[in-house]
């Protein structure tokens, strides 16, 4: 049994980047005008 990715709780996890630099390509594409600000935890 191997832990590939360690889980986080509801209390942790922060925005990965500032401003409009969406940290995931997939994030941006879901917004009609590509202004989907990254709010990944």
């Amino acid at each position: 049994m191997e832990l590939v990715n360690k889980g986080i709780t509801a209390l942790n996890g922060e925005h990965k980047e500032e401003g409009n630099n969406s940290c995931q390509v997939v994030c941006k594409t879901l917004c009609a005008i590509n202004l989907l600000y990254c709010v990944c935890a």
Binding site: G7, H15, K16, G19, C23, Q24, V25, N34, L35, A41
Partner: protein, 439 residues
């Protein structure tokens, strides 16, 4: 007495010939299991009272990563907690300025149907200055950049220069580093001369939309007189790649124009540039108001949208471009606080007349959530309603195993279409399947 456990409602099993994975969409915990272990874990998941068949270390992994949890905890409450952490995050301001609501294009799918053509006035700029000074003094970010949106912002470069000058002065006074600003433009006016003006106005990153090859693009992205814009827009992408550090090319696609999109990407070398990122949007004809959502049969579902994106990224990689899958960089697995900035209190669009909006798709007259007065936001009824528009109001989302990755889809679509939203549902499920396959 031993603790009572229950199985997380966010566990996802992924089994293939060579591996068995257990993933939790809320915690992002991921376990790779051998056959024997997988059987034991499945037994415990089916009957959480059987935890005694697991060793202490196994039990610790299962509980610490959220696959099994205290039976008295309501997991939806934890998702809500994370959501509201995002909503009320005060640490960053995401500001977009709309210098004009006018546009030189008349795209049939444009959602800005009822715009009156206004520009920011000097009074509006004074209000923006007051608002921003106060916010930045409070937040004290290390660096600041904003976005420009329209209408077509390059129709009023003079206003952009004025706004940029004022914002740079505020940052200088407060000791805040100025980062390069971002602009969304249709590209029609973006010549080399314009690029030089933009650079001087601190614009260093941009997005341009192109909707496939010449035939397809000229069908949807037209001037008001009906003339096509393909040559000018393609030229603008090449100019931007020369002048700017980040060029996002937005390609809106549906079942109808997809062949033309694939042809454009195969043919044009610009799409192999490391400075150029491509984002594949879902072309939604019904947004232009000429048809109902259910009549728009060319629109991709969420799952199809994800598959089309993968297909286009495969074309780029095969033809010598970058590997977009690797660009899903630091977090191989991730979860969300909110779907997007529109769900956050510190995301603000400011337009002519000091009007405040929450989302770029919701900037028609009557969609203001307030206005600025003396540098302060004065909310109206829509402001308070906007924050009630959350994914937990809908049973489909509240009971969905992918809720922590998706967070309910586009808030604008939620409001406009009422969920469930076909264009989003299935997208993140497909995304996760692809991620797990690559593990």
């Amino acid at each position: 007495m031993a603790a009572a456990y229950k199985t997380s409602r966010f566990n996802v099993w992924h089994e293939s010939k060579d591996k068995i994975l257990l993933y939790n969409t809320f915690t992002t915990g991921l376990l790779k299991l051998g056959g024997g272990h997988a059987e034991k874990i499945k037994q415990v998941m089916a009957d959480p009272e059987k935890t005694d068949i697991l060793s202490k270390d196994e039990m610790s992994l299962i509980v610490d990563n959220g696959f099994l949890l205290d039976a008295s905890i309501d997991e939806l409450e934890m998702v809500k907690y994370r959501y509201y952490r995002g909503v009320f995050d005060n640490k960053r301001l995401t500001l977009t300025i709309i210098p004009t609501t006018d546009c030189n294009f008349a795209c049939p799918y444009c959602f800005e149907q009822n715009k009156s053509h206004q520009r920011l006035t000097d009074t509006d700029i004074d209000e923006i200055k007051k608002y921003l000074s106060r916010e930045l003094r409070e937040i004290k970010p290390e660096a600041f950049a904003y976005s420009l949106y329209g209408g077509e912002p390059l129709l009023c470069m003079d206003i952009i220069e004025k706004v940029s000058y004022e914002i740079s002065a505020i940052c200088r006074d407060l000791g805040i580093k100025r980062e390069k600003d971002y602009i969304l433009t249709n590209g029609y006016l973006l010549t080399e001369r314009m690029a030089e003006r933009m650079l001087k106005a601190n614009i260093g990153r941009l997005q341009i939309s192109i909707d496939g090859n010449m035939a397809e693009h000229n069908t949807t992205r037209r001037l008001k007189n009906g003339a096509g814009t393909f040559r000018e827009v393609l030229n603008a992408i090449y100019v931007s790649e020369k002048y700017f550090s980040q060029v996002d090319v937005r390609i809106n696609t549906n079942k109808g124009n997809y062949p033309g999109v694939a042809e454009l990407i195969e043919k044009e070398p610009i799409f192999r540039s490391p400075k150029v990122s491509i984002s594949i949007g879902n072309l939604r004809q019904y947004m232009g108001g000429e048809m109902e959502r259910q009549e728009d049969t060319d629109c991709f579902t969420g799952k199809e949208h994800q598959q089309i994106q993968q297909a286009i990224y495969d074309i780029i990689k095969r033809t010598g471009g970058k590997d977009f899958k690797l660009e899903d960089r630091s977090h191989a697995f991730y979860t969300k606080l909110n779907y997007c900035g529109a769900d956050q209190q510190k995301t603000v669009f400011i337009g002519p007349g000091g009007a405040i909006y929450k989302c770029a798709e919701r900037t028609d007259p009557g969609e203001e959530v307030g206005h600025i007065k003396d540098g302060m936001i004065v909310p109206n009824a829509r402001f308070w309603e906007w924050f009630q528009n959350n994914p937990f109001r809908d049973g489909t989302c509240s009971s969905c195993i992918y809720l922590p990755i998706c967070m309910g889809g586009c808030p604008s679509a939620r409001e406009r279409l009422k969920i469930p939203n076909d264009e989003i549902c299935g997208y993140w499920e497909q995304w996760l399947v692809k991620k797990l396959e690559r593990c």
